[in-house]
Amino acid sequence: MRGFGVVETVERKTLKLDGCTVSYLRGGSGTPLLFLHGANNVPGWLPFLARLAERHDVIVPDHPGFGASEIPSWLDNIHDLAYFYLDFIEELGLKEIHLIGGSLGGWLACEIAIRQTAPLRTLTLVGAAGIRLAGVRKRDIFLMSPEALTRALFFDQKLADEMLAQPVTEATTEAQLKNRYSVARVAWQPRLFDPHLAKWLHRIDVPTLLVWGDSDRLVPPAYAAEFARLIPDTRTAIIAQCGHLPQVEKPDEFLAAVTRFIEQKGA
């Protein structure tokens, strides 16, 4: 069940908003669940999404500037993406959303939530970037080779091997270059954080779950504790023998933590 195999085909949709055509996947039914990807767009309906879709109306956009979405002329920083998503939520008429963000997407989810929690029911951060914990460096994704970066994502190197063995096509190369450009656009300096975010995390007034791999080499688990200190109502699930992508590396544990949290706090 773990890994990258796409188990179900879900139709890709597009929406033109704020002058930018964005591409997104949407499947399942139930309460809405918006998943915000990290430095790379979600290539397809991954197993963890299919399982979330058993209970939720799951929406997985490629951020403006990423994957199959256009690069908008207004994309200068992470705040631009946050305001875009507030428009996106409004445009789709989403309410009582379970918002999940991984890595850069976790940072983005925080930027959205400090501005507006009215449409949110819960917030889940997975290996989230966005803040700086003095003395605990995140890895510099911009100086790593694609192979080193892939290896650093996982505890289990078999998954890294599997990911590195995925076929390289012109389309995947193009998406990668686009992703890399847009991550740099919003996260190059300062690297992967917003110096003004930590000041306002106390505004997040929805139940928040922090999911971290105990062996996350990109954003070390000490960051989970820091988010827990800064956001008022949190609980933390540290997943053993797991790297930066618990939803891919340990989907059972990830889904158990998310499902339990949503049942208790967000039903």
Partner: protein, 385 residues
């Protein structure tokens, strides 16, 4: 044909075995590899070489900017230019200041105005974007590189030419009071040169502004392609490019014979190319530094600087010129005739090349090669006129 002595001021004492432990002489090579006392000795030596070059008859002396590396020890090139300004008689070129790295590019307008004043109008002002690694070292966003370069350029040109104070309103820079003291000596401003490795956007932009385009260290095929492009862009902009608007920077080594030249220069050519220039892809081409289209081309070509090349291979590409007086004369004459550029920038010290060989190189070049080329190319130009 004008000749400029150009220097990079490398840390020639670099332990070349650093590659056993580190990927590059840039960004992350620990500065414990730098010995401050040897550093002082090198600055003394290199400043002496540049002063000597002026006395030996080079038309201009050129310095440049690179940050946090062993390849070039002039992070603030105007310090070196300032040290030279009252010693040399020829032109003084700073090629160039890396504008997008700066949060306040007015500092460049100020530095260059001061240097133009100190030299009584002998300054050549170079503007560059900086190279990939420097966006890591200085924390400048490479995706903003082009737009910041253009905006900083506009700010500097206006600061030099418009009566102040005025309000500069840009996207990246907004300054309430732009009011430059001192104003530059030259009117309307020092000549602007654009050194580049040849991105199409830069070639086009330089031609449109009638700025002198300077091709940096490159294989001869790339030099030709970019200079031809410059001429095309000039035609599109409604004029014919003159030789004075085009230049090429090449490392040059002259010795008594071809064999001796290669034997003496070989280890230093290889150190320059394989040790001092060595950079992984992620350092060389950070996201946004070049257009997505160029980047795709580079990736598809699988161009890699990680494979070491021999001096013979490097010479074959034409990026380095090395040989007897005869060989160097003929090579440069042929290149100039073929490409029609008017400025030859000569890197006469490269990598680990020691002081004695550098001096011999400069002597042979300025006494045997430079006068010959001046005469021949001058005569050919006169004949055409």
């Amino acid at each position: 044909m004008k000749f400029m002595l150009f220097h990079l001021m490398p840390y020639a004492y670099l332990d070349l075995n650093y590659t056993d432990k580190y990927e590059s002489a840039w960004v992350t090579l620990p500065n414990t590899y730098f010995d401050p006392e040897k550093g002082h000795e090198l600055y003394e030596r290199y400043l002496g070489e540049l002063e000597l070059g002026d006395q030996m008859g080079f038309d201009a002396i050129g310095v440049n900017e690179h940050h946090q590396n062993a390849y070039g020890l002039m992070p603030i090139p105007s310090v070196i230019a300032g040290a030279l300004s009252r010693k040399i008689k020829g032109k003084l070129a700073v090629l160039g200041r890396a504008l997008p790295l700066l949060n306040n590019p007015l500092v460049v307008a100020e530095e260059f105005s001061m240097l133009d004043q100190l030299t009584g109008g002998r300054l050549i002002a170079g503007f560059v974007r900086g190279i990939g690694g420097e966006y890591h070292s200085w924390g400048a966003n490479p995706t903003e590189s082009h737009e910041r370069f253009l905006e900083a350029h506009d700010l500097i040109l206006r600061a030099w030419t418009e009566p102040g104070p005025f309000h500069f309103e840009g996207k990246h820079y907004d300054f309430e009071y732009v009011n430059l003291w001192p104003r530059p000596y030259q009117k309307p401003h020092p000549p602007v040169w654009i050194p580049s490795s040849g991105s199409i956007e830069t070639v086009m932009w330089a031609a449109q502004h009638k700025y002198t385009y300077l091709q940096t260290y490159s294989p001869v095929a790339a030099v030709k392609k970019n200079l031809e492009q410059y001429k095309i862009e000039a035609q599109k902009a409604g004029y014919t490019a003159t030789p004075e608007q085009m230049g090429w920077m090449a490392p040059i080594y002259v010795a008594e014979t071809d064999e001796r030249a290669l034997a003496e220069a070989k280890p230093h050519i290889e150190a320059f190319a394989n040790k001092f220039l060595k950079k992984p892809f992620e350092m060389r081409l950070p996201p946004g530094y070049v257009s997505m289209k160029s980047l795709k081309g580079v990736m598809q070509a699988k161009v890699s600087q990680t494979v070491d090349r021999t001096a013979e291979e490097i010479l074959a590409s034409g990026s380095f010129i090395c040989g007897s007086v005869e060989t160097v004369r003929n090579t440069l004459l042929e290149r100039q005739r073929d490409m029609g550029y008017g400025h030859q920038l000569c890197l006469m010290q490269f990598g680990t090349l020691p002081a004695d060989l550098t001096r011999k190189n400069m002597e042979l070049f300025t006494t045997r090669v430079m006068p010959f080329l001046r005469e021949r190319i001058g005569a050919e130009a006169a004949a055409i006129a």
